[in-house]
Subunit: 222 residues, 4 copies
C-alpha cells in the first residue's frame, strides 16, 4: 500500500483476486458436496479449508498491488478512513462485483454446470442476519487490528478468521457483499436465493461500520 | 505488552477476545454437530480447527493491547510472576468471565437457541480431571516457553497447542476457567453440566501453577 | 537462487523433491481411499492436506539449492524469463519426469502395489481441461506474485494454493506435467488414464504461459 | 543450540517434549477412533493433525533449550555429525525412551485405559519396513535441510512433514525409535505389537543414516 500502483493494475489485481476467491468458494463447495456422500460437515470442512487457503495466498500476492480488498465492505471502510480515494473506491467495488460473478461462471464451467443460474438456497431470518453482522464485524476487527498495528500477518489472519467463521456463524460467514451477490447466481452448495441477498448485505455493512468505529477508539495510539 | 494501553482499552480487548473465542467454541460446536450426521469425530475436527484458527487471530490482534490472556488461569499466573498488577488482574478476570457468557449468548442467538440454558453434558471423573490438569499445564508450558524466550510465535503456538489438545485429552481441553463457566450455560456440543464446572477449574489452576513453577526453573537464564 | 549450486546438486535436489512429492500425492491417495470407507471427500481431504504439507516442506528445503521447481511448466516459464539457462532447464525437466516415476514406484512399494501399472481412471472433457488451465494459471500467478515481489512465503503460498486447488478445480489440480505423466503409471486414487495425459499437459502449459504474460505486465515495477 | 543449557535442563526439556509428543500421538489416536464411528480415515486425519500441531509447538519451545530431538534417531545423527557430545547423546536417548513410556501411561490415564499394556496391532512386512525407511529418511532430510541452511522454520517444517508422512507411508510414519518402543505398550489405535518393534527401529536407523550421508554431500557449502 505504500507505493501505489497505477489504477489499472490495482483494478486488475482486485479483479483477479476476487475471481479466484469466488472460484475457491463455489468450486470447493460443489466438489465437497459431490464427494461427501451426504455428510454436509465434511463438505463444509473442505469448503472452509479451501477458502481459507485461497484467501491467504491471494491476499499475500495482491496486497502489495491493490491492498487486496476483494470486498466492497472493506473498500467502503478503507474509504471512510481515507485509506483510498472515493473515486478509486467506486471503481474497486464495481470490479469486485463483476469479477466475483466471472469467478462463479468459471467455477461452473469447470464442473459442467450452467454458467450462471439463480440459487434456490434459502438463507433468511434473524439468526442469519445476526451471523452476518458478527461475521463482518469480526472480519473488519481482524483487518484493522492488523493494519493499525502494522502486523505483517494480514494474509494468515484473514484466512484463519474466515476458516473459523465458516463454522461459528449460522450463515457460514459470507461477510462480503460482492461474494453475496455472486453466490446468488449459483444454485449449488454455496448459493443464496437472490431475494435473501439484500438483508445479508445490510447486515454486513452494519457490522463492518461498527467494527471500524470500535477499533478506531480501541487501537488508535492512546 | 511493552507499552501498556490504558486499563479501559485493555479490558475492552480482553472482553472482545474472550467473547469471540466463546462464539468460536460454541458456534462451531453447534454447527459441527448439526451437520456431521452423527459422526462426532467430524464435529470435533471442525470444532478444533475453528477454535484454533480463531484463537490465533484473536491473540495476534489483541496481544499488543492487553496481552490477550482471555483466560483467568493465565492472568493468575501472570500476576504471580509480576507481569500484571494484582488489581488489574482481578478486573481482567471479571471481564473474561462476563464476556465469555456474552459470547455464549451471541452464539446461541445466531443458531436460534435459548440465550443461556444450563448444560446437561456430564464431564466428570478422574480421567477428565487429569485431562484438564495436563491440558492447562501444557497451555502454560507453551505460553511461558514462548514468553520467556521472546519467541514471536505465541499466537500460532497457542492455537496449534489447543487444536492438538482438543484431541489428545479426554476432556477436549477446556483449559480455561472462564470458558468452563460459560460453557456451563450451553446445552450444546461444547457444554458442561454446572455441577462439573468446579472440579474442572481446580484441575486447571493446579496445572497452570505446576507449569509456571517448572518453567520458571527450566527456562530461567541459567 | 542467488548463489547457484553446481548442476549436479541442483538436479539431485529437483530429483529428491519431485520423488517425495509424488510419494505424497500417490501414497496419501492410496491410504485415504483405503481407510475412507467409500467417502471420497475424506480421502481427498487427506490427500490435499498431505500434498500441501509435503510441498511446503520440500520447497522450503530445496529452494535454496535448485529453486525447487519440481514441475516442467514452472521450469519452462523460468527459462522464458531467463531465470535459468536453457540447457539446464532441459536437464531439470528430464530429471523431474524420471524422479516423478521413481516416486510413484516407491509409493507402490510401500503399499504393496505393482511398481508401475497403467491407470484406468478417466479424466477428460472440457471441464477438466478448463480446470487444468485455471489450476496451472493460478500456480504460476502465485509463484510470480511471490518471486517478483521478493515475498519469502513461497513455500507456504504454493502449498496453500495447491491444497485449495485440489478442491476448487474439477480435475483436482494436477497443474504439473511431470506429475501428470507419473500419475499415468498408477491405477490408484490419484491416477489418470495414459490417453488423457496429453490434453492435460497442453492445458497446463497454456495456463502457465498465460499467467506468466499477465503477471509480467501486472507486477513489473511500474 | 548456540548457548547450551546445563545438561539437567536439556534432559528435562527432552523429557517433557517427548512425553507430550506421546500423549498427543496416543491420546488423539484413542479419541479419534472412539468418535469416528468406524471411519478410520477420520481417526487418522485427527491423529495426524493433532500430532503435527503438538510437534510444531514442542519443537518451538524446547529447541532453544535442548535442540528438541525427542527422537533417538535424530540424536544419533547429531552425535555422528558432532553436534552433540557422545555422553550427552546417550543420556538424551535414555530420557527419550523413558519419557515416551511415561507419556503413553499419562494418555492411558486420561482415557481410563490400563497404564501400560502390550499392543496386539500387527505391523510387519516389506512394505512397512520400506515405509519406515522412507519416513525416517525424509525426516532427517527435512531436519538437515533446515539446520544446514539456517532456516528458522524447523518447527513448522518437521510438523508439516510428519502430518504428510502419516498419510503417504503405509506404516503411518513412526520414524522414531523411542516412539516405536513406547507405542508397543499401548493396545490402542496407535499401538504396535512388541515383536514388530525391532525391525521398525532398524529401518528407521538405516533411513536416518542414509539421509544424513546424502544431505552431507548435497547441502555442504560447495
Amino acid at each position: 500500500m505504500s507505493k501505489p500502483a497505477p489504477l489499472s493494475k490495482r483494478l486488475a489485481a482486485e479483479g483477479m483476486g476476487t475471481a479466484f476467491l469466488l472460484m475457491a468458494v463455489i468450486g470447493s463447495g460443489i466438489m465437497g458436496e459431490k464427494l461427501a456422500a451426504g455428510n454436509t460437515a465434511i463438505a463444509l470442512l473442505a469448503n472452509s479449508i479451501a477458502t481459507g487457503c485461497a484467501l491467504a495466498v491471494l491476499i499475500l500476492i495482491f496486497a502489495p498491488v491493490s491492498g487486496a480488498h476483494f470486498n466492497p465492505a472493506v473498500t467502503l471502510c478503507m474509504a471512510l478512513q481515507k485509506k483510498i480515494a472515493k473515486r478509486d473506491a467506486l471503481a474497486y467495488i464495481a470490479v469486485q462485483i463483476a469479477s466475483a460473478i466471472i469467478g462463479v461462471a468459471s467455477a461452473h464451467l469447470m464442473f459442467g454446470e450452467p454458467l450462471l443460474f439463480a440459487s434456490e438456497k434459502i438463507r433468511t431470518g434473524g439468526g442469519q442476519w445476526w451471523s452476518e453482522f458478527i461475521a463482518t464485524f469480526g472480519l473488519l476487527m481482524v483487518i484493522w487490528g492488523c493494519v493499525k498495528q502494522n502486523l505483517p500477518a494480514v494474509p494468515l489472519a484473514v484466512a484463519a478468521y474466515i476458516t473459523a467463521a465458516y463454522w461459528f456463524t449460522a450463515s457460514t460467514s459470507f461477510a462480503n457483499p460482492a461474494v453475496t451477490i455472486a453466490r446468488g447466481f449459483s444454485n449449488t452448495f454455496a448459493g443464496i436465493r437472490p431475494e435473501d441477498v439484500l438483508p445479508f448485505i445490510l447486515a454486513q455493512v452494519a457490522g463492518a461500520l461498527a467494527a471500524t468505529m470500535l477499533l478506531r477508539w480501541l487501537i488508535k495510539p492512546s
